[in-house]
């Protein structure tokens, strides 16, 4: 259906209104009171404000319904009046236009709380809240729905789903505005391209931004939006950045300062211009004057299929980089992975997501299909968790429609859904979900059987595409899986797959994909087989593949094939990659030059292992030393101890740092564990002293203290580790029992550090023979002095020198 407003936008710039709140405050609206309630309580004031804007030139006015939804009205105990408030608002705005031509937008603001998975409000509840208000607005006769000031894409998605549902009551245009901060991103980190990708996925008619910043910060955002879409653009800046003056928030930009920006916005591509916070009819009057003779810029939508996460957009199609969809989040044939999913654990899913991201995947396929698992719930969980650790777009992969739906529901981006095929039942189940959630879909060119010929596969593709387009899904949102068959089973099948790629490009102009590893199934040296096929497929026009991004051969094939298929403009990506690789190689070589001489004897190797922290082989090396006839005492005293001492010197000289000390301490500990039985059997190493170590009462931090214990033991001290949250009495009792020389206390909290004083006071009061050293994040030298500690160590690197120094002083007395 053609809408007049959209027809006009092809050749005209339309003007929105400005702020409602500021004008109502001027008419006595109390600070913090809901303006929406005035639709019923002070209708004349609302009418008057609309009239002022219409006189100033507004073609579209926003009905006074920004907060007229469930949660927000509830705050004023006015939810029961929702319908009346929304009806009155539309009525007043219509009345304000009188005989003058104009449009009333039903104004929809954020629902009043954050939406899952980012917040606590369930996504479907958010849809219901928006739908309830939009239904009232549509029934009241609004000419369009304007969704405004959204800072989270997920909440916007809920609003858009509701908007598309009310379109079934009466078809009307949808305008959707996000709010961007000064850094050009939304509060939840979405960039303009991803916002556009999501909004276009829902077929909004006008998209843009409002509020939060002044016009100067909106300019670069509008530029990015205009480059990313052919959809009409609207913009409502604030009158500059707000400042607080005499207890009132004011917006400092004058109408004269704002108006020139309106002209700039139109030159960039805006079709609708208005104002947000701080703007008044005078701003709109000047903007109207500037824009009334301007014509909209003709823009086109970039080619290809777009998918995105909350903050990252990927294009599939001709001229765009080849898309590597990581295949590894899939339990098929992987026992541990399946077990983790069965237990509801996401750690292995997240580990695979990170590995593929780091290897260069451009999107991730997510399949959590394990028998007897609640796959929809698990898909929802995986989709939410993965988004926290990588920003790649997701491909939601399941044979269960419900799992696909819950995946899309929890995904605050535009997902690619894997998959639909040409079966009527599947088309009827999956495509409406794609439409509802504004997603893109992978369409398998098969029905129940995979057709042998490319021509037959094309027919299936045509069937699916027609069904999609009949539902209003644009062809850009359909990506065809041409089906790569196993070459060892069906040698001619592969050439048919390549022909299918070409045919789909030629006849339908859609993007293509395939599951790569199928091709080589059953053959040796599989990598070479499927990567050879991949090169041919890319040459035939393939846009993406579900594949293993950790395969370096594949990465090279993709980089190389891009050069010949128009996917790497001026070979820049290829050259940059090779240059970086060469630079890394040279850096590594130069590092090698400075490396020390290679350890040759077992003693040298043990020394090196302790010094460098090679903990993985220290046990074997130590055993090797013993087998060669070295005495356990020699290994400990003549090899390991000098090594750890050298490390201490390097630490003191700031050539090595705490992580090295930690690694080496742990390494030596593992070596000493091999020696320990032998040392003890021979009477043990002479102890340098006995130390009681504890984290004080009330404190549960002990990781640093544990490292200190290891270090002291490595240096020959006898250490009794009492653990954490240890009362002073227990510490003193242990010191007495073990005839200790020293007590080491750790605390990480200001509330617990005073427990150190309790111990020291007791030692001093009873003249007990223990030295007390303290350490931990919150402690300082000054505090140590104040409580009369004998020694203070700032961090784990200081524990040995401090204890040695304290013990030395004690023995010299």
């Amino acid at each position: 259906m053609k809408h007049e407003i959209l027809e006009r936008l092809k050749s005209e710039i339309l003007i929105l209104d400005g702020s409602m709140g500021a004008l109502l405050q001027g008419r006595g609206l109390p600070n913090g009171y809901a303006p929406d309630l005035w639709n019923l309580e002070r209708p004349k004031d609302i009418l008057a404000v609309h009239q002022e804007y219409i006189q100033a030139g507004s073609d579209i006015v926003l009905a006074n319904t920004f907060g007229a939804s469930k949660i927000r009205l509830d705050e004023y105990n006015a939810y029961g009046k929702l319908k009346d408030i929304n009806f009155a608002a539309v009525d007043l705005a219509k009345k304000a236009f009188g005989e003058k031509k104009g449009y009333v937008a039903g104004d929809i603001g954020p629902c009043g709380t954050t939406v899952a998975p980012f917040g606590e409000l369930a996504f479907n509840e958010a849809i219901d809240i928006f739908y309830e208000q939009m239904k009232a607005l549509v029934e009241a006769g609004a000419d369009l729905i304007a969704i405004e000031t959204m800072f989270d894409l997920q909440e916007m998605r809920a609003a858009l789903i509701a908007a598309n549902q009310v379109r079934e009551i009466r078809d009307l245009p949808i305008m959707a505005h996000m709010t961007f901060t000064q850094d050009g991103l939304t509060d939840t980190g979405s960039d303009p391209d991803s916002v556009v990708t999501v909004l276009d996925g829902f077929n909004v008619d006008i998209l843009g931004l409002n509020c939060s910043t002044g016009p100067e910060h909106m300019e670069p955002v509008i530029e990015k939006i205009a480059a990313a879409t052919g959809t009409f653009i609207s913009i409502e800046p604030n009158a500059g950045l707000p400042i607080m003056k005499n207890g009132v928030t004011i917006f400092p930009a004058t109408p004269q300062e704002m108006a020139p920006y309106a002209e700039k916005f139109v030159d960039i591509g805006a079709n609708v211009v208005g104002g947000c916070c701080g703007t008044t009819p005078e701003y709109i009057r000047l903007i109207t004057e500037r824009l009334k003779k301007k014509k909209p810029l003709e823009r086109t939508t970039p080619s290809g299929t777009k998918i995105c996460s909350r903050m990252n957009t990927v294009y599939l199609g001709e001229g765009h980089p080849f898309v590597k969809i990581g295949e590894k989040i899939n339990p098929t044939g992987r026992k541990k992975f399946s077990e983790a999913i069965k237990e509801g654990r996401m750690d292995l899913v997240l580990a695979e997501a990170r590995k593929q991201f780091e290897a260069g995947a451009t999107a991730l396929d997510v399949n959590v299909g394990v028998p007897l698992v609640d796959e929809p719930a698990m898909m929802a969980k995986a989709v939410v968790a993965i988004q926290n650790v990588v920003n790649l777009p997701l491909v939601i992969d399941s044979s269960y429609d419900e799992a696909l739906e819950l995946g899309m529901l929890n995904y605050p981006g535009k997902a690619l859904v894997n998959s639909v095929n040409a079966e009527d039942e599947k088309i009827e189940a999956v495509l409406p979900l794609i439409k509802k959630y504004g997603a893109a879909v992978i369409a398998l060119v098969a029905e129940t059987e995979i057709p042998e010929t490319a021509v037959a596969r094309l027919k299936n593709a045509e069937k699916i595409l027609k069904a999609a387009m009949d539902l209003g899904i644009p062809k850009e949102n359909v990506v065809f899986d041409v089906l790569a068959l196993t070459v060892s089973a069906m040698q001619k099948g592969s050439s048919q797959s390549l022909d299918t790629i070409r045919l789909i490009k030629q006849e339908l102009g859609c993007a293509t994909t395939l599951g790569l590893s199928n091709v080589s199934f059953g053959l040796p040296n599989r990598k070479w087989v499927h990567n050879t096929f991949l090169a041919q497929a890319i040459a035939s026009g393939l846009d993406s593949a579900i594949c293993n991004p950790m395969d370096e051969v594949l990465q090279n094939v993709v980089r190389g094939a891009a050069l010949f298929t128009g996917r790497d403009n001026e070979c820049k990506t290829f050259v940059a990659f090779e240059e970086k690789k060469e630079a890394d190689r040279l850096a590594e070589e130069s590092g090698e030059v400075t490396k020390k001489k290679v350890a040759e004897t077992t003693a040298e190797k043990i020394y090196e292992a302790v010094l460098e922290g090679y903990r993985d082989n220290i046990a074997a090396l130590t055993q090797e030393g013993l087998d060669e006839g070295m005495s356990p005492f020699d290994i400990f005293i003549e090899v390991m101890t000098p090594a750890i001492r050298e490390l201490g010197d390097l630490f003191g000289a700031r050539k090595k740092f705490i992580p090295h000390l930690v690694a080496s301490a742990d390494t030596m500990k593992r070596g000493v564990e091999v020696l320990q039985p032998l040392l003890e059997a021979a009477g043990g190493v002479e102890s340098k002293g006995t130390i009681i170590m504890a984290t004080v009462k009330g404190d549960i931090h002990d990781i640093g203290k544990n490292i200190c214990c290891i270090m002291l033991r490595n240096f020959g001290y006898k250490v009794f580790d009492l653990g954490r949250n240890v009362p002073a009495d227990d510490i003193l009792e242990a010191a007495k029992r073990e005839n200790a020389d020293c007590i080491g206390l750790s605390a990480l909290m200001t509330t617990t550090m005073m427990q150190m004083k309790v111990v020291i006071d007791e030692v001093k009061a009873k003249a007990l023979p223990y030295k007390v050293v303290i350490g931990g994040a919150v402690t300082t030298k000054q505090f140590a002095d104040e409580i009369q500690a004998d020694g203070y160590g700032k961090d784990v690197g200081k524990v040995v020198p401090v204890v040695e120094s304290v013990m030395e002083k004690a023995s010299s007395k």
Binding site: G21, G119, S212, D666
Partner: protein
């Protein structure tokens, strides 16, 4: 229009995060270099990388905040009616002196990372140390993310902001958390307080940010 978080707890769940190698290196007190690849001791770099990869699978960033009007009284100083004594410390009085509102916030990385640390600390002390360090920084990182929402709201209303100040800083005692946590319904984030006022999960942060009049 009203301040969204005014007397209203805003909860933010599933906070996306990135563990930046350079920040982890700084937390581990390794100066100058920005990436693990630059480390001369690649075996140590491998352990730190393990800690980062592991942290990615165990962090669950959540937070919440609430904004409350400040009452200025010549005798009592600055306070909120919901918990009149929590801002009694001189340092916090000074911080909030020029403010109209105070936002209390909470952030946590959840219990999973520290459970992992506790489970490995006996057999893999160095691994536990690296993971604990990454977790410590990530608690700050998630707090920064929650703080960014608070700041956006403050700026939107034309205010400036104070620094973020946490119980345990200076003379502001940890005990105030006994009143701060209920105001934020901390149990909804799974945060509880021990008798010694330590939050559980340990990798959690509570703080206040003041809404400062500009100029």
């Amino acid at each position: 229009m009203r301040i969204k978080s005014l007397n209203n707890i805003i909860t933010i769940k599933n906070i996306p995060f990135e563990i930046v190698e350079e920040r982890v290196l700084r937390e581990l007190r390794i100066p100058r270099i920005k990436t693990l690849k630059e480390m001369e001791e690649q075996n140590v770099a491998k352990f730190i990388k393990w800690a980062i990869d592991t942290a990615y699978t165990f962090i669950d960033g959540n937070g919440s905040y609430i904004t409350l009007p400040l009452i200025h009284d010549e005798e009592k100083g600055v306070y909120i009616k919901e918990a009149p004594t929590i801002f009694e410390a001189p340092s916090i009085q000074k911080l909030l002196k020029e403010c109209d509102y105070a936002t209390l916030l909470l952030a946590t990385i959840g219990p999973n990372l520290e459970d992992k640390v506790d489970s490995i600390k006996t057999d893999d002390a160095s691994g536990a140390y690296y993971l604990e360090t990454v977790g410590g920084w990530m608690a700050d990182y998630i707090t920064d993310k929650v703080d960014a929402f608070v700041e956006a709201e403050i700026l939107k209303w034309g205010y400036g902001r104070t620094m973020r100040y946490s119980p345990g800083y200076g003379d502001w005692q940890l005990e105030v958390q006994q009143e701060i946590l209920p105001l934020l319904k901390a149990e909804r984030l799974g945060i509880t307080l021990s008798d010694s006022c330590i939050m559980n999960p340990r990798k959690s942060v509570s703080a206040v940010v003041g809404w400062q009049k500009k100029g």
